[in-house]
């Protein structure tokens, strides 16, 4: 039996969220990024947000290619600079929902400074960080999250550095929504992305994911299925966990869950508060007063809620 690729692409449930004309993607069999992108696409659908008003920004690396496959406005930036590019978009047009989807080397290594400062400002962005403990695109080098003692191509005798614990890092920096899952936890990832899209402020979702070709092979940890087994046996669900207790040791326990979900003025809300005091009620950003922008936001929220209700009803019906 042969598959009609064109028909397959057209009929795919992902058509409309992914650029099917760009398939097949570059990711390896067993890699977690594919599941994450699926969860992301599903979350977008369920969220009810207008896909026209969504922008996806990626950096460089395997996860950096996500922006190239999603059928939204999308920017594939330079290495490490996805967050400041996303910041520029969000501030240029506050009605957009801006998602950064990138890897841990990109976001916490070369781009680490931008990560903590966007969190500090409570910039209204959703940052999805695929953490596979390795620079995959360049051949499996050590990253800022590679567990101590793990082998990488640039730590052939074991990693003598100590890794970041990303939830702790962004919590200390000021992020207002923080969750961690593995790429196996597809439903939780989907739900977290939905929550983050609705959250006002800096959201950070870390997804622990297997790099089958490099990290697993080099550390003799089996294949993708073995790693999913490992996740199943070694993840510990702890919602609200103190982020100081989320460190990951080599092949050790992985604390997962939603750790932080709090309300704090976003960067733009803080700008508005300051400027309205200065200029008065006539204060406008890009020609719109605060009440005008709030009214637009409220109207859009109602549309989002209606779309979300329709999608959920449709899904419930399909399940029954």
């Amino acid at each position: 039996m042969t598959t009609d690729i064109g028909k397959f692409k057209h009929d795919s449930p992902m058509s409309g969220t992914l650029r099917m004309e760009r398939m097949p993607h570059i990711w390896c069999p067993g890699c977690g990024i594919g599941s994450e992108v699926n969860a992301f696409a599903e979350a977008i659908k369920r969220s009810g947000i207008d896909p026209k008003k969504l922008v996806v920004v990626s950096g460089i690396g395997c996860t950096g290619r996500v922006a190239g496959y999603v059928d939204f406005d999308s920017i594939h930036t330079t290495h490490g600079r996805a967050i400041p590019v996303a910041t520029g978009i969000k501030l240029a047009n506050p009605e957009l929902t801006v998602v950064v989807f990138s890897g841990e080397g990109d976001l916490t290594g070369i781009g680490g400074n931008h990560l903590i400062h966007a969190a500090r400002r409570n910039m209204d962005l959703v940052v999805i960080c695929n953490n596979n403990f390795t620079y995959g695109m360049t051949g499996g080098q050590v990253t800022p999250t590679t567990p101590h003692s793990a082998i990488a191509s640039t730590t052939p005798y074991g990693n003598y550095e100590y890794p970041f614990s990303l939830p702790f890092l962004v919590d200390a920096a000021g992020a207002t929504y923080i969750a961690r899952w593995t790429s196996m936890d597809v439903r939780n990832v989907t739900q977290s992305i939905e929550e983050a899209l609705a959250h006002k402020g800096f959201s950070f979702i870390e997804i622990i994911s297997p790099c089958t070709t490099l990290y697993l092979r080099r550390n003799r940890l089996g294949d993708g299925v073995d790693m999913l087994q490992h996740y199943q046996e070694n993840t510990v669900l702890k919602h609200g966990c103190d982020t100081r207790e989320t460190a990951i040791d080599f092949q050790g326990k992985i604390v997962i869950g939603k750790f932080v979900d709090k309300v704090k003025p976003t960067y733009l809300e803080a700008v508005d508060q300051c400027c309205v005091k200065l200029v008065g009620d006539d204060y406008q950003l890009y020609g719109k007063t605060i009440p005008e922008r709030e009214a637009e936001e409220k109207a859009e929220k109602e549309k989002v809620a209606a779309r979300r209700a329709a999608v959920l009803a449709e899904q419930t019906e399909a399940n029954e």
Binding site: K52, H76, V85, H114, Y286
Partner: protein
């Protein structure tokens, strides 16, 4: 280039007494710039401070980013978010920006960067003047690409050139660099900001046709191609990878030829339309002084003194630095004895003058290692030597 009158809200019309850095901020607001991302660095901070102060009343947004890497990245985002955007810096900060100047050139993103030059290399002379980043502005990022660079010689021209920088940037969808210097940046002079209706600005050219026909790029070696604004429903994709007209990666030698040729020729093929020069008594001159920025004002004294001595000396002031005025230099070279090129660097633009003169006349460099302007006597001595 299609222009419209400036939006009055950003135009603080009337006579002012301000420095060059501040005039850049006013020029940006007049040109319709509503997004500024920057990082403090001497001697450029007055531009950022002025913009930050004026932003709330104009309805613009100012953000101080964590570094220059973030500043230029935020401009790229803001440009695709639909705003005219700028930043200001000087040498060390510009060095940090060059990677994303390449991304902006590659993705054909309009933005404006002012480089208020100070003495280098490295931390060098933070508070003292120089013109040492002329080549970096052109060649700083890796790979082949072209940009436009302009150099003002006064606070008034800082205002005028900033408006022009935005107009060129919008039309050619290219980073435009304002190459000023500490002296012009910190010099206070009268600046007259015209009424809004007298300031012509190029509005953002947003695509509004059918979605299926939308292409973020057109590799026709011309400017004027519209871009999409995030949120307008065209689902654009842009990447720093070599790409096709849809913006999708196509990493082949054949595609690279198409893209790189377009990026280069879009600017160099339109050099005649872009370049502005300020010429004085060039016809019949034996010696032509080629200068720019603050050095052109120092050169005036030397030129006047030389003329008193009976030397036929003309002045060619570069307002447009890049693309370089190759054609004009080639025209003049066979007609004169020598070009004299004073600049506050070890000899940068003189290389371009010498290349284009092609041995048809002498080219004399009057270099300076930075930290001060030239003594006009030194330039005068070079003019005398050139006339021998």
């Amino acid at each position: 280039m299609k222009t419209v009158p400036a939006e009055p809200k950003g135009v603080d019309s009337g006579p002012h007494f301000m420095d060059g850095d501040q005039a850049i901020a006013e020029g940006a607001l007049a040109a319709g710039c509503r997004f500024f991302a920057g990082y403090p660095i001497t001697p450029s901070t007055e531009t950022a401070e002025r913009f930050a102060e004026r932003a709330p009343e104009v309805g613009a947004l100012f953000i101080q980013m964590e570094d220059e890497l973030a500043s230029i990245a935020a401009l790229i985002g803001a440009a695709w978010g639909g705003r005219k955007a700028m930043t200001v810096t000087c040498g060390p900060g510009f060095s940090l920006m060059v990677e994303n100047i390449g991304l902006a050139a590659m993705t054909e993103t309009p933005l404006v960067i002012a480089n208020v030059q100070r003495g280098g290399p490295s931390t060098g002379l933070p508070t003292l003047t120089a013109q040492q980043d002329m080549m970096q502005a052109r060649y700083g990022s890796h790979g082949d690409y072209a940009i436009i660079a302009l150099s003002p010689d006064s606070p008034q021209e800082c205002f005028d050139i900033t408006v022009e920088a935005f107009n060129l940037s919008e039309f050619y969808r290219v980073p435009v660099i304002i190459l000023t210097d500490e002296t012009v940046g910190h010099m206070h002079e009268k600046v007259v900001i015209p009424p809004a209706e007298q300031i012509q600005v190029v509005p953002r050219n947003n695509y509004s046709g059918p979605k299926e026909d939308f292409r973020p790029y057109k590799f026709d070696c011309q400017g004027g191609h519209p871009m999409a604004r995030a949120g307008d429903g065209y689902n654009f994709h842009i990447t720093g990878l070599t790409h096709d007209e849809r913006g999708y990666p196509v990493m082949t030698a054949e595609q690279s030829k198409i893209v790189v040729t377009h990026l280069m020729e879009k600017i160099h093929g339109n050099a005649d339309k872009i370049i502005r020069l300020d010429e004085d008594q060039i016809d019949g001159a034996d010696v032509v002084v080629v200068s720019y920025g603050i050095t052109s004002r120092i050169a005036i004294k030397a030129i006047q003194d030389a003329r008193k001595e009976g030397i036929k000396v003309g002045s060619l002031r570069l307002i447009t630095i890049w693309p370089f005025c190759e054609k004009r230099i080639r025209e003049l070279a066979p007609k004169i004895k020598a070009f004299v090129v004073p600049e506050i660097n070890y000899g940068q633009m003189v290389l371009e003058v010498e290349r284009c003169a092609g041995g048809k006349c002498e080219t004399i460099s009057v270099n300076h290692c930075g930290g001060a302007v030239h003594d006009p006597e030194v330039i005068l001595a070079a003019i005398r030597k050139a006339n021998q």
